[in-house]
Symmetry: C2
Subunit: 142 residues, 2 copies
């Protein structure tokens, strides 16, 4: 299901079969307003009025399960979350885009334009999902 800006937060939540609540609206809005990926801590801080830490955990988990956002593991052992641009469905994320981590501004973005070339695995290995994280200097910083 595609997440496009023409939908309101309420409409989006409905489309993803989620009850419309305050925390979900605020947190989803955060993602819509934002280019780069967000960490749990960012969300706790930026979500305007403060929600309980537990609520943020549970909201993110729900969003991932329903396919609104996907998670990106990072080198420093934390998880970032970003909106799923398209064809992510409940339980199965198609992250066929790459993630770019800027070493200067430390922001992480999804590069939707870039395709991941086919990678041939040795005999016997079956590929289900591929995650590519490239770090370097982003467009804004160079």
């Amino acid at each position: 299901m595609a997440i496009a800006k023409q939908y309101t937060v309420n409409e989006l939540l409905r489309r993803f079969q989620l009850n419309v609540t305050d925390s979900r609206k605020k947190i989803l809005q955060l993602f819509l307003n934002q280019q780069e990926a967000l960490a749990h801590a960012d969300i706790e801080k930026k979500a305007g009025e403060k929600f309980d830490r537990v609520t943020v955990y549970r909201t993110l988990q729900t969003f991932v399960e329903k396919g609104l956002i996907h998670s990106i593991p990072t080198a420093d052992n934390s998880i970032l979350y970003a909106l799923c641009k398209d064809d992510c469905t409940e339980g199965h994320h198609q992250d066929h885009h790459i993630h770019f981590v800027c070493e200067q501004c430390e922001k992480t973005a999804c590069l939707d334009q870039v395709n991941i070339p086919e990678i041939k695995l040795p005999l016997g290995f079956k590929k289900e999902k591929i995650d590519v994280v490239i770090s370097g200097i982003c467009k804004a910083c160079s």
Copy 2:
């Protein structure tokens, strides 16, 4: 610097300019005996006699800094460690191999044979480092 099995643990530690201690020998031996990547928790458990949690943290950190092992971030927000097969040097890891996570046995391995194809980034982005994690079913499980 290449890590080959013909060297003893002691020799390896010396070569990487590390003092030879009990915990370092035991932990390095663990990695040498093992195909797949290890999590901090695995190491605490498997390291025969128990070392303090702090010692394990510090030993792993030292090994990463000196280039004996490299770390692999995982989707469930934990870090795995694996031996560096070759050309990793102090402070700079050349992880030009991919990591494969089996969804069945949950083991993570480095596929050294597989090369990462060139990925063209949009104008303005400068690539420094690339991490590829593929999940699916491994050879042993299929």
